[in-house]
Subunit: 310 residues, 4 copies
């Protein structure tokens, strides 16, 4: 990996982002809780970190936002290390098809969620973490801080509380799984942990740093710390590609060509294995629940730099 | 209605019941809570009350058992009087098809249950009752006592508690409906009320007396008290016929030919409009969740007496 | 049964029908084939026949129309006599829930349709008839003519051909059932038979006469000819009540309170066991596919005459 | 790309294949048609071709077998060139979730299949090809021959005929899609074309050569002929990764880490973009319908050579 490989990235990122700032924004900011709804919809930031620690930023790249579902990947990374491959007895690795039938599939498949990145799967991951961790919320936050040696990561408890008040659908999912015996801990504790986990805030810069280990075979290349094994790093990337974008995974895998994960707060992280991690943020979501401009920026950038795993 | 019409009923009931006692019992006693599981599986009782108050009994007809889902009909009868026809905006009157897809249908139909006799529908009815009643548990019990002027009706709080501990699937349903805005009261209060309601205990004799008003156009013919309007009495009977036996409504409507409702405690009530109500009890359930011998007794009795609405 | 019981029926029928003629008609005439689409939407007829052969008519009661799905009941009546109770191994007796999932349920239930009145079930019935009859189309027509001693009943082959050209969904259903081994004869022959069967034309008068045997325990009371056994007459009535009105069976069972069957041509037959059969016809269909004014006429008439099985 | 990169591949392929020959074979040869059922279950072959035309083989690598669903990728490659991106109005690019609900999803999504590699999607692709090609069967065969300059590729008409006789489920799918207007040509012609297409036979060697263009950005690197554009080559690879292995796509993407496609004849093709194509063949299928030993060979080989897109 040589530095010149990335010459021109800064210029390209800037011009693409400027262009995306101009286009009409389709879609809507998430509105089911006030904390997400009141975000300035015009925010747009991007940050790219290479595995040899070159950094390229543009726009609102240092402003924190709620990473929401993106944190499911971090939860999986920790759970897989603590529980080992037994974890796959309780959650699958296959795409979930359309969103509409999450409850249907849970019923047919006896309470085993299709993958760890849909809500049901993430709830099982949370249940597993609670079984392993002494102080789940504290320990998980420490884990996320250690990954990128960033002490400034925190939950937003106000968001977590709001989510809880609106979280009837998640309560429905977890009760259903409990009826099949796939939840071991107290339901309210698992839900509380889950909503806190989704409330973590990061800037694009922090997000790119946090996920860099997945571009580098499981090792944070800046600190040389191994976060997950090489094999599990591959598995996590594979799961992100298959399941990271709700009902738009196929579209994303083609247009962007990289594994990644989006959150309802408007953030997206994408990984180019062996090369870089890139985080974008723009709050307005398309109909599938993924950041409209975030996907535009990534599509344009990966096309122009010919970054694609395919 | 003349007395001679029912000549021979006692002899027939006795001989049918004796015969049913002899046959091998297929199926199993409900086992999801210990209170139901530990019932003597050989219990068998039957009681018939005509609208001119003739009574015929056999077997364990004065022993109380948990009427379970049968109480959903009483809840409906009260809710329909309190809420009026607006009730039908929140719950349907159509059969639910197979049991397997209760959650599926709730999803497609935006949280509106198909009918008031499936669990989801009964939870909505409970929510409506709570909105109307000052002391829901007390008031509902009074309502059931008044119907048949029977002060000996009571909840079994031990059963209600057991149900609550095993009630994850109902918690899943109610949370899903809440996410669609079809539950207005606190979820835990509605669940508590629902489980108490299902825990009411009656003997066959009490059950037949309690439901006699549905054989008499909404009036208890013994006390001359109107419980529901004539029109609503018909509607409740129609709903029982369509929806009263889970996935076996069609089978029951043919074999027995009367509207009715079964409970997981092994009880069944059936109504011959203009003639009589009949209650049977035998704890072992067939695969569809209805009392195996209870259905046998009813099928044999209605066939031999040519009681059928068809 | 005495004649005076029906005094006033003619006057009532006339006044109800006149009133229904005045109300705005909601809904649309079936449009998937031109032969049904070009019907005069203002047609309205009604005919009632009592089991002692009193007849009351009003409006367009002697004009023939396409009875469509109503003929499924006649096919069932013949099949049940030819095949006996083995028939129930190949088709169920339970309501189908919502229309949307006919294919779903066929998949889950291994190609066994829920009941004989949905399309899939009627196709199985047709397959059974073909296995039994030497000249299926000829023999079935003879059967329908014999029931009411009416030689003027005929298929409308032009309608049958049009249906066939638009019948992809039925072709999908029958192929799916064939893949599960629940169709024995050549698919094209079964489909041709099915579409012919649905193309039979009757007037309200003819329809009421044709179905009178179901009001009289399986015997045509005019000719004293037994069509089906008493037991099977009850079963057919029970199936009509549970499954005769698509997704509106519960609504019909309450509002009209009688077993019946509708067709997409705008006809409805209803049976008051022990009393009469009544046929109505008005081409505009409500959203559930049942005649809007036809249901209005029946609801008003049965309410005012207190005809209800409940 | 330098030759030394692949040093050791031959030795490795041989040793892995020998080892896989020894292990117990789980699963069963496809049995729904005799032509597939009578294959020797012990066959095992593998062939790898690099983009600089180095070739490595082992076992039964030159014996022809029925490639079955693998040919859906070739049909897509041709259709995408003929129809352009309008094709995506008629078929999606998302994974299909579980196999069980192919008909369900077709119903919900108005006859638009989820992707071109499930049967419903491939039938739409066949319909598109028929609309574009003068002599569809002849022209398509020419297309496949031209890709790898291999005049020895042929349909097996006996297999095609057998498939047709057993093809009721496909007939169900295509009729359903026709009812939604998503099939334009005669159903029997489309089915005939589809079954022929699936009957093409190739050896592992031929298969690896045929698919090499997808490892080389859409150009066959041996002949320097462009088959599809670079952009479409990426899209096809992305679709294979997401949808190429029925209900096991997630498992394959992790274990093998490459896009690929399996067939019920026991063949699998996998693509390492920028490096090589590899074909394996072993007739026994696991429960998900993919070659048991074929997957073993690929998993072992890609793990040991660290070939993975992740």
């Amino acid at each position: 990996m040589k530095a010149e490989k990335f010459i021109g990235y800064q210029k390209l990122l800037s011009s693409i982002t400027v262009e995306c700032q101009k286009i009409d924004d389709i879609g809507n900011v998430a509105s089911y809780i006030p904390e997400l709804h009141h975000i300035d919809p015009n925010k747009l930031g991007v940050h790219l970190t290479t595995i040899d620690n070159q950094n390229f930023s543009f726009g609102d790249s240092t402003e924190k936002f709620s990473i929401q579902s993106i944190s499911k990947v971090l939860a999986l990374a920790l759970a897989i290390e603590l529980e080992g491959d037994n974890l796959w007895n309780r959650v699958g690795v296959e795409p979930s098809g359309t969103a509409f039938n999450s409850l249907v599939q849970l019923e047919y498949e006896n309470g085993i969620p299709r993958n760890p990145l849909i809500n049901a799967g993430a709830l099982v991951i949370c249940d597993i973490l609670i079984s392993h961790l002494k102080k789940p919320k504290y320990d998980f936050l420490e884990f996320t801080r250690n990954i990128s040696e960033n002490p400034n990561l925190n939950y937003n408890s106000k968001i977590a509380e709001s989510e809880k008040l609106a979280g009837f659908r998640n309560a429905s999912l977890i009760n259903l799984m409990r009826s099949y015996g796939n939840i071991n801990n107290d339901i309210n504790i698992v839900l509380d942990f889950y909503f806190n986990l989704c409330s973590i805030e990061m800037s694009c810069q922090e997000l790119a740093h946090e996920f860099l280990f997945l571009a580098s075979d499981g090792i944070n290349p800046v600190t040389n710390q191994r976060i997950v094994s090489s094999r599990r790093s591959k598995r996590i990337n594979a799961i992100m590609l298959m399941c990271g974008f709700y009902d738009e995974a196929g579209e994303f895998s083609f247009k962007v060509g990289l594994p990644g994960k989006s959150g309802v707060g408007g953030g997206i992280i994408a990984i180019y294995p062996g090369n870089y991690s890139i985080a974008v943020w723009s709050p307005k979501l398309n109909k599938k629940g993924n950041s409209y401009k975030g996907m535009k920026v990534l599509e344009s950038f990966t096309t122009k730099t010919r970054s694609s795993i395919f």
